[in-house]
């Protein structure tokens, strides 16, 4: 065993000396390889943690939401629809919701303006508002400050900030402006007896599908959104197979494939001569392959370990700063959030398999081909 370990150590010594002879090329390779692992792992960790967080945070969202549609678009829903829904078996509570968007032309920012549900109406009294942390930050608002709006009837409208949402909840509340029903209707000149949509709560989750089917019958011009559909929307967010993630991935994978191909398609004349000399002085084919195995293993393991560790720090310790410009787009308000680390062993194993194995294979195969041929012909090229 001791001899075996010593032999491996000598092989590693030799491999490192051989790598050092092409220092720039190999360091460049390691850097790019680490970068690819970093990029892939960052996307993987970020999307996985965000999906998990969305599932936990939105678990308490309304069971069913009823939206009225006009020509395929979301429209206001009359209060009479609450009556049309009537006393449906299984429905515990039904309530019209009021929410919308306010565009602030000065800041060029969009706010989500909401009226709290009846049970929490006490959160904001008429003339008072509660604002999200990003709104407060953007406008420099503190408690008791005045916030000015241009109402839809053309008259100026202002409210006093009663409180601000904590910065820990920015992922759901960054752009929120919470106000009383009275203020909401005045600000948007909102027609009386109309709501944005209707939220239903259903006691038994097994009944949800039945309730949705009955609603479709009673309100044919409306569409229902079940909580599981909300969760499914976020389950598929930043899906691997869709959108920019695919572009990112295919770019990285192609770059990596070029690397691997370059390695696999053949050895440089220097490398071939090196193998020929090694064989001529008595190295066995197995030794040559083992030496190249160590070369592949050292480079790919280093790249994987460093790339993954850097990605972890980037996503969970540095709030994914590199993704911010991509996610921000044209948004003026952007939440500052720290994700709760959710590490999936299976995903890490997949990443390991798809980054380390192809490279190791690509190093060994051409060496094996060169090592089984006659040293003389290898040296002559």
């Amino acid at each position: 065993m001791r001899t075996w370990i010593e032999k491996q150590k000598y092989l590693i010594d030799f491999t490192l000396s051989s790598l050092a002879r092409r220092k720039v090329k190999n360091l460049g390779l390691l850097l790019i390889y680490t970068g690819i692992v970093f990029l892939l792992a960052s996307v993987m960790l970020f999307t996985h943690a965000l999906r998990r967080e969305a599932a936990k945070v939105l678990a308490g969202s309304p069971d069913v939401i009823v939206q009225r549609m006009v020509a395929g678009r979301h429209d206001l829903i009359p209060a009479s629809y609450l009556g049309k829904i009537g006393a449906m078996r299984g429905v515990q509570k039904k309530e019209g919701r009021l929410w919308g968007y306010y565009y602030d032309p000065l800041r060029k920012a969009n706010y989500t303006v909401m009226v709290p549900p009846a049970a929490t109406a006490a959160l904001v009294a008429p003339g008072r508002i509660a604002v999200g942390a990003a709104v407060a930050r953007g406008l420099g608002l503190t408690v008791n400050a005045e916030m000015y709006f241009q109402s839809y009837s053309g008259k100026p409208f202002s409210s006093t900030v009663a409180n601000t949402f904590s910065s820990e909840s920015e992922l759901v509340s960054a752009d929120l402006v919470l106000m009383s029903e009275e203020d909401f209707r005045t600000l948007f000149d909102y027609p009386a007896g109309q709501y944005t949509d209707i939220a239903l709560s259903v006691a038994n989750p097994q009944e949800l599908r039945n309730v949705a089917a009955k609603l479709a019958g009673r309100l044919p011009d409306s569409r229902t959104i079940l909580r599981e559909e909300v969760l499914r929307t976020y389950e598929s967010i930043f899906n691997w197979r869709e959108g920019i993630v695919l572009v990112l991935l295919s770019g990285a994978v192609l770059a990596f494939a070029i690397f691997a191909l370059e390695k696999a398609s053949g050895l440089s004349a220097d490398e071939k001569r090196e193998i020929g000399i090694l064989k001529a002085i008595g190295w066995e084919t197995g030794d040559v392959i083992l030496m190249k195995f160590w070369e592949g293993a050292l480079i790919s393991l280093t790249a994987f370990l460093l790339g993954y560790t850097a990605a972890y720090l980037h996503v969970f310790r540095l709030s994914s700063v590199l993704f911010e410009p991509v996610l921000k787009g044209w948004s003026v308000l952007y939440p500052r959030f720290e994700l709760v680390p959710e590490v999936d062993g299976f995903q890490i194993a997949t990443l390991f398999f798809f980054t380390v194995f192809p490279y190791a294979m690509a190093t060994i195969v051409p060496i094996w081909r060169a090592a089984i041929t006659d040293p003389d012909s290898v040296m002559r090229g």
Binding site: A54, A59, R97, T112, L171, V172, D197, T233, W330, V343
Partner: protein, 111 residues
Amino acid sequence: MFARKSHRALAFLGLAGGLFLLTFADAIWLQGQRAPELVGESELAARLELTDLCLFTEARYTRHLSQADIHSAFQDHPVALEHFPSGSLVTPPRALTIDHANLDRKTKIPD
């Protein structure tokens, strides 16, 4: 001790491996640290009946991903193109796309 190149390389790999394992320990520690924030967020979302994460505030169909109708990305005029950057990051609500696929297969009138 580190006179040989192999020793230095293995020590470096060991260090990198140690840092890799440390990320798992850090993840568990951070989960505990950030759990109260997550509970606070969930409670706020339930209390205010929030349906979406505030990820993209640039357009209404990306601010409320789950509430958007399938036409809202093309809101400006009949042949408008979807032009907000975050539109290329996310897809329409899952339910909408799935339902359309279903309707397509269930149709009784041949195209």
